[in-house]
Amino acid sequence: MSAALFAILWIPAVAVAVLAFVESYRLGAALNVLAAGLTFVAGLSMLFAPQYRTDILIVDDFNVYLVTLTTFVAFTSSIFSASYIGHELEIGRLTPKSLRFYHALYQAMIGAMNVALVANNVGLLWVGLEVATLTTVMMVGIYRTPAAVEAAWKYFILGSVGIALAFFGTILVYLVSQEVVGEGLQAMAWDVMLQNSAKFDPKLLSLAFVFLLVGYGTKVGLAPFHAWLPDAHAEGPTPISAVLSGLLLNVALYALLRFKMMLAANPDTIDVGQVLIVLGLVSLIFAAFMLYRRRDIKRMFAYSSIEHMGIMAFAFGMGGPLANFAGLLHMTMHSLTKSAIFFAVGHIAQVKGTQRIADIKGLSVTHPVLAVGLGLGVVAIAGLPPFGVFMSEFMLVSSSFARQPLLAVVLVFGLLVAFGALILRMQDVLFGEPSGPIGGVKASYVPLFVHLAIVLVAGLWLPEPVVQWFRSVAAQLG
């Protein structure tokens, strides 16, 4: 096991143990940033680590980049969180005691996501996702308002059902695999399964995938399994909304893709691509229309996340080098952009004291820097050039027009509807008649603008190694 792999798994674990006992919230926040920062350094160095496999863990092209992305967003979100919670403490929504809990959970979540990403054992993958879900459930309910408890409960119940179905799917996958590979740990190792999947019983494998799709699809937030997502985003602390949208949804999608690769290697199974295309388009269209009726700003961007997860599912469903490339790029760009938007929205909701869109007006006059951040974020997420999201959406649209023009029309329709909703809703927020408090902000702008800068640069120019990586993984995905 390389030192970096060891570090991304153990730094969060140690941090959980330490943070659970740190009384001072300032120290706790600083340690949280420190631990997340160290994990990010380890995650970054994973890029240079050799490939590695055991029956339990695996490091390959596909997960190494996602580890880097995950640890990076977790790190920047921890910086944002440090400035966010100070204000929450002042207005009494959080107490020092609940913050201790919060910081320990934050690290537990990072650790669990890393475990899920580097797991080779499909059971361990499931455990990682389960723990990550549980920690976010508890963080969503941390304000203890009726709305927060309702959101956490709903997330809990739906998440648990997802967990349960995914577990049944995992058992079925093991059963298929042990017929060919033999009993024991290697029958649960993903890479062993992938090599042997052509010999697997196609019917049972397809059935297993259906359970996995519904189970992990619930976590991805694909319609019609999305009901927990808007509540969980709106009622929890904003740093958690940022990591939920930016990271957890990605990790769940990643799990689904691992199984999709297994099915793609077996020609007699159901066509997973078509299932993903349908789910993706349904999520996209549904979320795009839902955007119009939103009155809560965080809820609105939660629906936007459903929309974008739909786009990704569509891209991976189309398959082929170009669409997969677009899907992977979109995963990265959405993760960075959406977390940046939540950083901005978090501070905006704090200075205005509300999440209601109708009560937030004229930010460009009252809080110009936040307005620029949010404005750029919205422009990026709406898919306008020159940002990275435009690149990935453009690639996806052009490749689908070449192959499935009818589906591409649906895709473009959904994108346009969502675009209109975002522009319509955000116009007043940014440029309307100023209203509400105009007090100053103690905000940390660095994470926000760093994310936006990366998305901007990626839209203009992708470095060669990144392109190479996307290409090789896109080829693997089939």
Binding site: L175, Q178, D296, A358
Partner: protein
Amino acid sequence: MRALSFDIAHLLAGLMLVLSFLLLYQDRITAMLNVFAMQAVALSASVAWQAVIQDAPHLLVTAAIALVVKGIVIPTALHRIVRKLGIHREIEEVIGAGLTMLVGLGLVALSILLMLPVGEKVSILVREDLAFALAVILLGLLMMITRRNAVTQIVGFMSLENGLVLAASGAKGMPLVVEFSVAFSVLIAFIVFGVFVFRIRERFDSVDVSALDRFRGERGEQP
């Protein structure tokens, strides 16, 4: 011996399924908790039997966990919570017991139709076990959907999870089953703890859309 081991495994799994049906139409919470405890005992016996016929002693640990945690500790804790929340005398309106049972029957048929024809290479015992397990899982889901009280929803979830453990123990030589059953116990402990701390009595969801909108912060003047 082969036939007998087959029959006993069937008997125990079938018992769990029958208890799932019993759970579906209980209208009193205390009675429902007792039925759930019985199901956990049946699960424990079933897993223990699998340990014997598969010659897998580690499954006995899972059986013991099922017996102690789900057969005794959690029902006892839930009995106390129910009394503290003052809902032990409450009679819960089960929405259309007859209809629910019919849907339940349909779900059992569905799981048999799904599981039996696939995977000719997998032994028939495993497949039938999985069909039973899937039926228990789906009935648990049905219970979570039709009930409104948080405690009954938890019981539905735990019954669903009983089905999962049954499936995992039936899958021959599956590694980490013990670890999974521990992980599930932790998950359930968290849920029970959560209900107690937050004193959740009712699911907030209701057909009254205005109540929903209030909780979602979306009530207000039309845009």
